[in-house]
């Protein structure tokens, strides 16, 4: 596998934020996830559950509810505002004060014309959805007590509202409440406590389903306002409900971390008389399940334990396929770490601060697998708190270690670092070109003379860095017309090329000398998750969300022979079944045939000189290979050398020739 000096970076203390709300758009197959820090993430379920976009949060913004209306995403929070997001520029588009106190819930009707918001003061406020904005239309009859949950009847003429101790049904045309359904309180000591109807669902046959803080899952007849059946599900709270598209199944998330499924089944075969039966229980969370989505094939749940769990329903999918596997998405699908290879510095990005660390050093030469004695321990040089209310969306550290940049939704900040052996100074660069206002991705060139920033409309701003000033050189644009944000920027080592990938699955390569678009990689259906340009051969290696790997020669402007062969033969099934995207690609400078990849749980070196593994060969064969004698080892070995056990690999250090590859693993090492 080559010789590496491996640093164990266990000091990246990153803590994902709890999931608060989710909304699924079944047309675009996008899942919006709101986290407790106000960040909103967009996952593309059609593209291997890839985390496409992240809209950073903001202090004081607590998203309580998310709602898709067509392709537009709205949120509401306890700050009393309704917000629409700009998914192209990854920022809130506008916010409207609802004037009803904290907003607990929002719900759009199926026609896409109205948005209802349930407020603390007991009003349900209707907003008309206009092309560019939303506009307050009217209030429904004001009730005593807050509106916790809302559900539209599919026809749009009725609406169920979960409140304290009761459920109200409104006629949305007249705005009057037609039914009042009292929800029984919990037994015992909780008798004196109001019961909160955390979630309601309104089915097309006028059945209202409610989940409440007494742990009951109740089925009501919405046309008469009577209770049909009550299922005690938990001793604590039923926090969230989600109905499948065909209304034959409802799932309920509880504060015990379980998700309970109810199905609408005929009690005797072949009869129309159907009932709701409690069927499956899923326990994939350790804490409260705060958000649930019932897709056609899976139960998607998220909660206080910050994990997004996709649990396929085995009666809807083929068994023993990739689709039937349980997925847990715990960590972001992007890099939160940047490193200065020459200076041995690491920059960790947190939502509200940055940390700059110097790596430890050792003088030792050691045998492979040995742990070298650490001469100097890793130390934290700087903890940089962000300014303003907006959270950090991206950050970069120049390879020489003298520049540091981060960006929020509203501004970019650039710092100059001066490091000597015992002192650190940081100086803010005060005058930044005005093009650097709102960027999605930052990147320094390898000689640290340029700063690349992806800006709106998929353009890249090139900024020249100098000791005295920094000025905007030019803006690189491509002509595909895509407005999606660029999420990967990758300059080549010789400073000639810059590759930019956006969430429209496009990869554009710019010629920095000619300051124009060199070529575009043929579009592939899956979003690139990592892109890198080979320093020697000038070929671009891209890894996509569906785990495919391509190599594109920039000179010939075509896929290389190795890439074609890989496509012909196909990747190993086990490789395709991995469920975390590769987050970085790099190369071994001593051996140009080596491509180094890693994701959250795996580290892989692809040796282009070796044959590709066939479907029947063993993919994870490193441990087995080691036990083989040399001739057999060379016979059995294939291009993919994968190490999953970090504990083990990290000890496998030799006198390193390229310290830069090691540092890529830091994000994962922190948890391994």
């Amino acid at each position: 596998m080559g010789e590496f000096k491996v640093h164990r970076v266990r000091f990246f203390d990153y803590m994902p934020s709890a999931i608060r709300a989710m909304a699924f758009n079944s047309h675009t197959e996008r899942l919006a996830v709101a986290r407790a820090d106000g960040a909103v993430e967009i996952f593309n379920f059609a593209d291997n559950y890839f985390q496409e976009k992240v809209i950073p949060g903001r202090d004081g913004r607590a998203v309580e509810a998310l709602c898709w209306v067509g392709r537009r995403l709205f949120s509401a929070g306890l700050d009393g505002e309704l917000t629409e997001y700009d998914l192209e520029n990854l920022r809130p588009k506008y916010s409207i004060e609802a004037y009803g106190g904290p907003v607990w819930t929002i719900s759009g009707n199926s026609q896409g014309t109205l948005l209802a918001a349930g407020c603390e003061d007991g009003t349900v406020k209707m907003f008309e959805i206009l092309d560019e904005r939303i506009q307050f239309q009217r209030n429904l009859d004001r009730q005593k007590g807050r509106i916790i949950s809302l559900a539209w009847h599919p026809s749009g003429t009725k609406m169920a509202a979960g409140m304290m101790d009761m459920i109200r049904i409104f006629d949305t045309e007249t705005g009057s409440a037609t039914h009042r359904m009292l929800v029984e309180r919990g037994a015992g000591a909780s008798k004196s406590k109001e019961v909160v109807v955390w979630s309601v669902a309104f089915l097309s046959d006028h059945t209202v389903i409610s989940g409440d803080s007494a742990g009951k899952f109740q089925i009501w007849d919405g046309s008469t306002g009577t209770l049909i059946r009550s299922h005690p599900v938990t001793k604590w709270d039923v926090l969230v409900l989600s109905v499948s598209q065909d209304e034959s199944s409802v799932i309920a998330g509880t504060s015990e971390g379980t998700v309970v499924q109810f199905q609408f089944i005929a009690s005797t075969a072949g009869q129309e008389d159907k009932h709701w039966f409690r069927t499956r229980t899923f326990k994939n969370h350790s804490h409260d399940v705060r958000a649930l989505v019932h897709t056609d094939t899976a139960v998607v749940s998220g909660g206080m334990d910050t994990q997004l769990v996709v649990r396929p329903l085995l009666d809807k999918v083929e068994k023993n396929t990739q689709e039937s596997a349980l997925r847990k998405i715990a960590f972001p699908h992007r890099n939160l770490v940047s490193c200065a290879k020459k200076a041995g510095l690491l920059l960790f990005q947190f939502p509200d601060h940055l940390e700059l660390w110097r790596l430890g050093e050792s003088d030792g030469n050691g045998a492979p697998g040995e742990i070298l004695p650490v001469k100097r321990k890793p130390e934290k040089l700087i903890q940089l708190k962000r300014k303003g209310e907006d959270h950090i969306c991206c950050s970069a550290l120049s390879p020489c270690g003298s520049w540091l940049a981060y960006s929020t939704v509203s501004s970019v900040r650039l710092y100059r670092l001066t490091l000597s052996s015992n002192s650190v100074s940081i100086q803010k660069v005060s005058k930044l070109p005005k093009e650097l206002r709102s960027v999605h991705q930052l990147c320094f060139s390898l000689d640290s003379s340029r700063l690349f920033a992806s800006s709106s409309l998929s353009s890249v701003v090139v900024v020249a860095l100098d000791q005295t000033e920094c000025r905007c050189l030019h803006t690189l644009k491509h002509k595909s017309g895509s407005k999606q944000p660029i999420h990967i920027l990758c300059p080549s080592e010789d400073g000639r090329w810059l590759a930019a990938a956006n969430t429209d699955c496009e990869i554009h390569v710019f010629d920095l000398h000619k300051k124009k678009l060199h070529c575009s990689v043929p579009a592939y259906s899956s979003c690139p998750t990592a892109v890198s340009i080979h320093p020697a051969s000038c070929s671009l290696v891209s890894v996509h969300a569906d785990q495919q790997i391509f190599e594109f020669s920039l000179k010939q402007k075509e896929y290389t022979e190795w890439s074609r062969q890989l496509q012909r033969q196909g990747l190993h099934p086990l490789w395709l079944q991995r469920d975390t995207p590769v987050t970085r690609v790099t190369f071994n400078p001593t051996n140009p045939a080596h491509i180094v990849l890693h994701d959250a749980f795996m580290f892989c070196i692809i040796d282009q000189s070796l044959p590709l593994p066939k479907a029947e060969t063993k993919l994870y064969n490193q441990m087995v290979l080691r036990s083989f004698p040399q001739p057999q080892r060379s016979r059995e070995s294939h291009a993919f050398k994968i190490c999953k056990n970090f504990q083990c690999t990290l000890c496998e250090k030799k006198q390193g020739k390229q310290p830069h590859t090691n540092v890529k693993m830091k994000a994962t090492q922190a948890w391994s």
């Binding site: 059946r229 299922h231 005690p232 599900v233 499924q261 199905q263 089944i265 005929a266 009690s267 005797t268 075969a269 072949g270 009932h275 039966f277 409690r278 069927t279 499956r280 229980t281 009666d315």
Partner: protein, 800 residues
């Protein structure tokens, strides 16, 4: 001499009544359960057995109410027949011969004239493959019907009857096997299989243990080995089936039943708690806890008013509407092993043996009913494997049944044995035993034998315990000291005996309590309980003495002992070996009512007929084979040996006490048959000469001393001149009348049979008293026998 073929063992009782699920009759008045080779009908109110349906020649493996007539019941058996009974009158209506061993039987009201049975699969020769077969019962009036119309329904089913159930109105059938549920639809004639993983993520075992179907809904409940209950729905779709999981049990779910209306689901298992789940409101549960032992079956009466649960301790509990236990039918508890041996309570004549852990059970042989359980250990039994519990290992009753001694021990390690000796007094008021004295650590090692002085009542009772620590101890009921008058008499150690540091084995009191024999390895020591002095030592090497028994009644001068190879008889008067014979006796017991003794021999080749059946029935199938091998008659002793397995299996054990009586009869009849035949047919001459021959041919060592014989002989000669048979009849010894009449029948018995006659020594027998004033009772008796022999002999002599 009884031939082997003439012995037929009739299984009398003690069978497991919980082998199969019981059936409650539709009026809830009767409960039917398979019990060994019979079906027993109990009254649900009085708990009494009202009928016993006999007819099957092998184990009954299923009982089922006939769906079309609720007064009739089907039973199936491993003998390959299905029988139809009228259970109220106990009449066998019809016998359907299937021809293959049947393991369970099912029927449904919608399949008229068809019963479904589980038999071994004929296709492949695997012994563990079973199939479900539909049997069309031909409608004819014959008693014995051969059935030919068999059609296989499902292959690869479980032999466990709980794993098959009929669904709503008999439209489908659910069968569980391994971790797979199969639902067969009769209309479509196809089946859906749903399988679970063998083990789930948390290591719980998903294997299905039982199945129940909802009576009106399409819902199948399955119980699993990890204690979960799954409710399967939508199973008419192969793919879109769904199930919900209920979990309360921590051990395997043994039985599941829906109530007839389908409003509740009952489940039970190891926890001995009956759980009632509200259907569709499964979070609402009712519990009926503390049922005593693990639930193995649950049955519900057709009207739903009564449930009954079978338990692993051979008990059936009848429950009224899930809240109240109304009655308990308790059979013989078969624990892990019978360590106490079998004892007979002298008072209740009940068989006493280990029952539930830490308990002694009193089982009535006549009524086949458990009379009561006595909690010996008096500690809560914690149901957990691997936990060392106190076990009752020795039990002894005194002669009148007023004292009971028990030894319990707990072995934590091999070296550390915790032993308690408890003495229980019979309380006339409560009619049960009350703990009198607990002696903790009575010996330093395990107690190997325990015996009471049988002739208590006259004196204070004495208990002797011998232990592996090299001592035997005598315990005596001591009156309390004067100042503690609130306490009654309690037991304390009276004497500690040892013999040359040898380890004592067994101990035995003579019938009158005047002698105590304790074996010390190869040596038998005889002690006087009155003074605790060593009277004599007897020995017959090689081999340790394993059993000791004093003769009774007329043979009380003999002491029988067994070593590994020999059966020895010592004469206590001469302190010498009387005779010995080579046989491997594993158990030696005295009949308390006669002079007979039973020696149980182990013989090779006894395994030939014990179990060649299917593995499923094997644990039930070792029936007691009683084969008296020889009746060696010497000096009035009948020694019968019997083929028996080495371990004391409880099923044998049940038949053992009746065996005493049976054996006694056999010996008598066996003895009379050869002797009585010739005596009636032969003329008088051989009879007299036979008497001479008898005297001459009697082995010298069984005859009394020649000096006694001589004087008596001569004396009788003198008297016999005037004596006639009629004179004898009106003779002075009136008290002999009775015994002489008996003698009329028995005098012709061959050589040693004279000893079988119980007789009392006449206290005022003038001649004998005068003749031998210093003689013991036995000697007197012997003399009288000789005299009578002489008498008849001379009478005949005079006639001729």
């Amino acid at each position: 001499m009884v031939e082997e073929a003439e012995i037929r063992v009739v299984r009398q009782g003690g069978s497991k009544i919980t082998f199969r699920e019981p059936v409650i009759s539709s009026d809830s008045r009767f409960l039917l359960c398979a019990s060994g080779h019979t079906v027993k009908v109990f009254s649900t109110v009085t708990e009494e057995c009202v009928q016993e349906l006999r007819g099957h020649t092998d184990l009954v493996t299923g009982v089922l109410l006939r769906p079309s007539n609720h007064l009739q019941v089907y039973s199936c058996s491993a003998d390959g027949t299905v029988r139809l009974w009228d259970f109220t009158d106990g009449i066998l209506i019809r016998t359907y011969v299937i021809g293959y061993p049947i393991f369970s039987i099912f029927a449904s009201a919608s399949h008229d004239g068809v019963v479904f049975i589980v038999t071994a699969s004929q296709r492949d020769n695997r012994s563990d493959a079973f199939q479900l077969v539909a049997v069309h019962l031909p409608a004819c009036a014959d008693q014995l019907v051969e059935t030919t119309e068999l059609s296989a329904v499902l292959g690869d089913v479980s032999a466990n009857p709980a794993a098959i159930a009929f669904g709503r109105a008999g439209e489908y059938l659910a069968s569980a096997n391994g971790s797979q549920l199969e639902v067969y639809f009769f209309k479509k004639k196809k089946s859906h299989r749903f399988s679970l993983k063998e083990e789930n993520r948390n290591g719980g075992r998903n294997t299905l243990t039982c199945v129940a179907c909802h009576p009106t809904d399409d819902c199948v409940a399955t119980g699993h080995e990890d204690g979960k209950i799954r409710l399967w729905r939508n199973f008419s779709h192969r793919k879109e089936y769904t199930y919900s999981t209920l979990h309360w049990h921590h051990g395997a779910v043994a039985s599941l039943r829906f109530t007839p209306e389908g409003s509740n689901l009952l489940s039970g298992g190891l926890e001995s708690v009956l759980v009632q789940w509200r259907y569709e409101q499964e979070s609402q549960r009712n519990f009926l806890p503390r049922l005593g032992a693990a639930i193995t079956h649950i049955a519900v009466s057709p009207d739903g008013s009564r449930f009954c649960t079978s338990h692993s301790d051979n008990k059936i509990t009848i429950i009224q509407s899930c809240v109240k236990v109304s009655s308990i039918i308790q059979g013989l508890v078969t624990g892990d092993e019978v360590q106490t041996d079998l004892m007979v309570d002298p008072r209740s004549k009940a068989l006493v043996l280990n029952g539930k852990p830490g308990h002694l059970q009193f089982y009535s042989l006549q009524r086949d009913k458990l009379l009561f359980n006595l909690d010996i250990v008096q500690q809560e039994f914690i149901h957990q494997s691997g936990l060392d519990q106190y076990q009752v290992v020795r039990v002894a009753f005194d002669g009148s049944g007023s004292w009971l001694a028990t030894v319990e021990e707990r072995k934590q390690k091999a070296a550390e044995v915790e032993v308690n000796l408890k003495l229980w007094a019979f309380d006339d008021h409560t009619q049960s035993f009350v703990l009198n004295t607990t002696i903790a650590a009575p010996h330093e090692a395990r107690i190997s034998a325990l015996c009471f002085d049988p002739a208590a009542g006259s004196r204070t009772a004495v208990l002797v315990s011998s232990s592996a620590d090299g001592h035997f101890k005598a315990w005596r009921l001591a009156a309390p000291p004067a100042h503690t008058d609130d306490e009654g008499a309690s037991w304390s150690c009276d004497f500690v005996g040892a013999y040359h540091g040898l380890v004592p084995g067994c101990c035995s009191f003579s019938a009158d309590g005047s002698l105590l024999a304790v074996s010390f390895q190869e040596v038998v020591t005889v002690w006087s309980p009155a003074s605790w002095e060593l009277l004599a030592t007897l020995s017959q090497p090689p081999g340790d003495v394993r059993n000791l028994c004093f003769g009774r009644l007329s043979c009380s001068k003999y002491l029988l002992g067994t070593t590994t190879k020999l059966l020895c008889c010592w004469n206590l008067l001469t302190c010498s070996l009387e005779w010995s014979t080579s046989m491997e006796v594993s158990l030696l017991l005295a009949d308390p009512l006669s002079e007979n003794m039973a020696a149980f021999c182990h013989q090779d080749g006894s395994a030939d007929r014990t179990s060649e059946r299917s593995a499923f029935l094997q644990r039930r199938s070792c029936d007691p084979l009683m084969v008296p091998l020889s009746a060696a008659l010497s000096d009035g002793r009948c020694v019968a040996s019997r083929r028996r397995p080495d371990a004391l299996v409880i099923d044998d054990a049940v038949a053992m006490t009746p065996f005493y009586l049976l054996l006694g009869k056999h010996q008598r009849s066996g003895a009379e048959a050869p002797a009585g035949g010739p005596s009636s047919g032969t003329p008088a001459l051989p009879q007299s000469s036979a008497a001479v021959r008898e005297l001459l041919q009697t082995p010298a060592h069984v005859l009394p001393a020649a000096s006694f014989l001589c004087s008596a002989f001569l004396e009788s000669l003198l008297i016999s001149v005037t004596d006639d048979r009629s004179v004898e009849e009106t003779g002075p010894a009136d008290q002999e009348m009775e015994s002489e009449k008996e003698e009329e029948e028995g005098s012709d018995e061959e050589t040693g049979a004279g000893g079988t006659r119980p007789e009392e020594a006449p206290s005022g027998g003038a001649q004998t008293e005068g003749a031998a004033p210093g003689l013991t009772r036995t000697q007197v008796r012997e003399l009288r026998r000789v005299r009578k022999l002489d008498h008849s002999w001379l009478a005949h002599l005079l006639d001729s």
